[in-house]
């Protein structure tokens, strides 16, 4: 996994609630597009007009924010479908961090599997940050320090679960980490076969 330490750059404000993963990447792009090229279709319904041309009103189509590494979003960003392609599409268009009031739980998990950092900030700070970032002035997100540095003013602290923070900073492979616990898994399963044999179909 790509490690995440700090990211600095323009932060595009897209403040609206409930941007779901169907909007982030429509399903027909998932069945017909290679993972590496999904970035072209990220936010398709917002980013393009019905005739296929770019929608000039969409923030990531505007000059300072084209290719921006940071997105500032509203409440419940990434709600809905579990499609991991949503994260691949966002990363495919250059994003490494989304700052929002809150995220869909499955989307959050998918971010951490791919080196994308979701940052939760309170609404008031988010609004202040979006206002400042609207000029295209650079924002820094520092995972080691766990704060967002706005263009002006004090750093805004955030919290990331220690387990996830370490994995992201080091770019750790979660599967490799779990494999080290194989003896514990085997011991648990042996106990469970005795306690709940009906779960284990070979013994049912």
């Amino acid at each position: 996994m790509t490690p995440f330490t700090t990211v600095t750059g323009p932060a595009a404000p897209l403040i609206r609630p409930n941007i779901d993963t169907d909007v982030i990447i429509p399903i027909r792009r998932l069945t017909g597009t290679a993972r590496e090229t999904l970035g072209r279709w990220a936010f398709e319904p917002l980013r393009y007009c019905p005739d296929g041309s770019e929608n000039p009103d969409f923030v990531l189509n505007q000059a300072p924010f084209r290719g921006a590494p940071i997105l500032i979003a509203g409440a419940n960003f990434g709600c809905g479908s579990s499609r991991e392609g949503a994260v691949w599409a966002l990363m495919g268009m250059g994003l490494r961090c989304v700052i929002a009031e809150g995220f869909g739980d499955i989307f959050t998990g998918n971010c951490f599997q791919n080196g994308m950092l979701p940052v939760v900030l309170p609404a008031a700070q988010l609004e202040a940050l979006a206002r400042q970032a609207g000029s295209g002035a650079p924002v820094t997100v520092d995972l080691a320090a766990q704060h967002v540095v706005p263009p002006v003013g004090e750093p805004m602290p955030f919290r990331t679960a220690p387990l996830r923070r370490e994995a992201l900073l080091e770019g750790l492979d979660e599967l490799g980490q779990t494999r080290k616990r194989e003896p514990e898994i085997a011991a648990w399963q042996a106990r469970d076969r005795a306690a709940r044999p009906w779960i284990w179909r070979d013994e049912a």
Binding site: T31, S82, W198
Partner: protein
């Protein structure tokens, strides 16, 4: 210390405590479908990984298969490659695979319970956010992305943070024409699409206890539309009666042992929850969505909301955008809004009870001339049961299309879609922008309400149709 049902489902599955509320959580069942399962099978092969417990893993194609009547499975479209990939991956790894035309094929969350694969007290994952449906049987079931699916397939565990415990009690007796779908849509409309983020929801109360398993699954199905990865109902006699004799459920002495365990799976009387909501089921009306989030839900006899009434500026803008996308005029009654399409199906409402309720409305009536109406049974087993009862004839006589099992118009992953600008009364779970097709306009509702929309050509209060 008194325990919640969440504690009783979660804690015994913690293989290791990873600190800070995180567990290495054992996964008892993995379900795979053609969209996420295909990709996981490919990745397992590329990385040289073996499936750790093929006997606990099950696969069926549902998302991208054609549902055209009389399908052969060779219909051109994206589904061909995905189904073949899932089938080959399952064969390579010794995973039971239920193909088109076999009992066991169907929407994965319809098939799992009806085959007895999903059991109370079991943990279950699938690369699909509506895996929470299976909580209707008292399972701890949740959706994951492709990376976590590969992790679960290879290790039979996942790194998970225990969610906070939320309880929703539906008390009282729902009025005539009010279904489980109305109860859950009402709740989402009241508390919002992110009200349960970070929580697991236990659904309880008199209305849940009185509900059939199918209805409990409808309610749990939409836990994710409240932001909760998992929703569940404590198993009871209704659950046990539903499971007895199902193909993969335990039997004989093993059934008795399982039953003794399942009877322990309920929240202690004095257990504390992090938050609780109480809904008076008697006060809920048939409910429909008007916008582009499931939280945009109102009683069918209400008016389309005005953006000025939104609670904050952000929502005011979101409501205005939703009204624009939906082509609706605020202030007008939602009832009477003309529809072009009707879809009865999806993991929310495609079980036999849903089809019976829709058929009851369709019987002796005709689909309105300008409306195209589809009934897509949730599984091969549901289809056969419905046909044995003659429900398909009721639908066909009324002018509905009677189709083959799959996800179909809920997610439009198989090339079937509602045309741009067309308005669809749908028994599915998401009214997101473009969900049923580019530019398609979705109104969520229950099966009888959808059938009523089909025969009248407009959103209709099913209680008035019956009168």
């Amino acid at each position: 210390m008194p325990s919640t049902l969440l504690d009783k489902l979660w804690n015994p599955h913690a293989v290791a405590d990873l600190g800070d509320g995180w567990s290495l959580l054992h996964v008892d069942r993995i379900l795979m479908h053609d969209l996420s399962g295909w990709r996981a099978m490919e990745e397992m092969r590329e990385r040289g990984l073996a499936v750790r417990a093929p006997a606990l893993t099950f696969a069926t194609p549902d998302h991208a298969v054609s549902t055209v009547p009389g399908r052969t499975g060779d219909e051109p479209g994206p589904g061909l490659r995905l189904r073949a990939g899932l089938r080959d991956g399952a064969a390579r790894n010794g995973i039971p695979f239920f193909d088109l035309g076999q009992v066991g094929q169907g929407i994965v969350h319809v098939m799992g319970p009806e085959m007895g694969i999903v059991l109370p007290g079991a943990t279950l994952v699938c690369g699909d956010s509506h895996t929470c449906t299976n909580g209707g049987l008292g399972a701890l079931a949740f959706g994951i992305g492709s990376s976590e699916l590969v992790h679960a397939l290879a290790t039979q565990v996942l790194r998970q943070r225990k969610p906070r415990a939320m309880r929703v009690r539906f008390e009282g007796v729902p009025g005539p024409g009010v279904t489980p779908k109305d109860l859950i849509l009402h709740l989402i409309g009241r508390i919002g699409a992110d009200a349960a983020t970070g929580h697991a929801i236990e659904f309880a109360g008199a209305a849940i206890r009185a509900m059939r398993i199918e209805g409990r699954m409808t309610v749990c199905n939409m836990a994710i539309e409240l932001g909760a990865k998992m929703g569940f109902v404590a198993p009871d006699e209704t659950t046990f009666a539903y499971l007895a004799g199902r193909p993969f459920a335990p039997s004989g002495a093993m059934w008795d042992r399982a039953l003794a365990h399942w009877r322990t799976l309920s929240s202690d009387a004095d257990a504390a929850f992090d938050c609780e909501e109480v809904v008076d089921a008697a006060a809920v009306a048939p409910t429909v969505s008007w916008g582009t989030s499931p939280e945009h839900a109102i009683p069918v006899d209400a008016a389309i909301p005005r953006p000025e009434a939104a609670p904050d500026a952000e929502r005011r803008a979101a409501w205005a955008a939703a009204l624009d996308y939906m082509g609706l005029e605020p202030g007008r009654p939602i009832a009477g809004t003309k529809v072009d399409w009707v879809f009865i199906g999806s993991c929310t409402n495609s079980r036999i009870g849903d089809l019976r309720a829709a058929a009851e409305v369709a019987r002796g009536r005709r689909v309105a001339p300008e409306v195209r109406a589809w009934v897509v049974p949730g599984s091969e087993a549901v289809k056969r049961e419905a046909e044995a009862e003659g429900l398909h004839e009721v639908f066909l006589r009324a002018g509905f299309e009677w189709r083959e099992p799959g996800c179909s118009l809920c997610v439009a992953a198989n090339g079937e879609r509602v045309p741009a600008g067309a308005r669809c009364a749908s028994t599915s779970n998401r009214n997101f922008v473009g969900r049923q097709g580019e530019g398609a306009r979705t109104h969520l509702m229950g099966p009888a309400m959808a059938a009523a929309a089909a025969v009248t050509g407009a959103i209709t209060d099913v209680r008035e149709l019956a009168a």
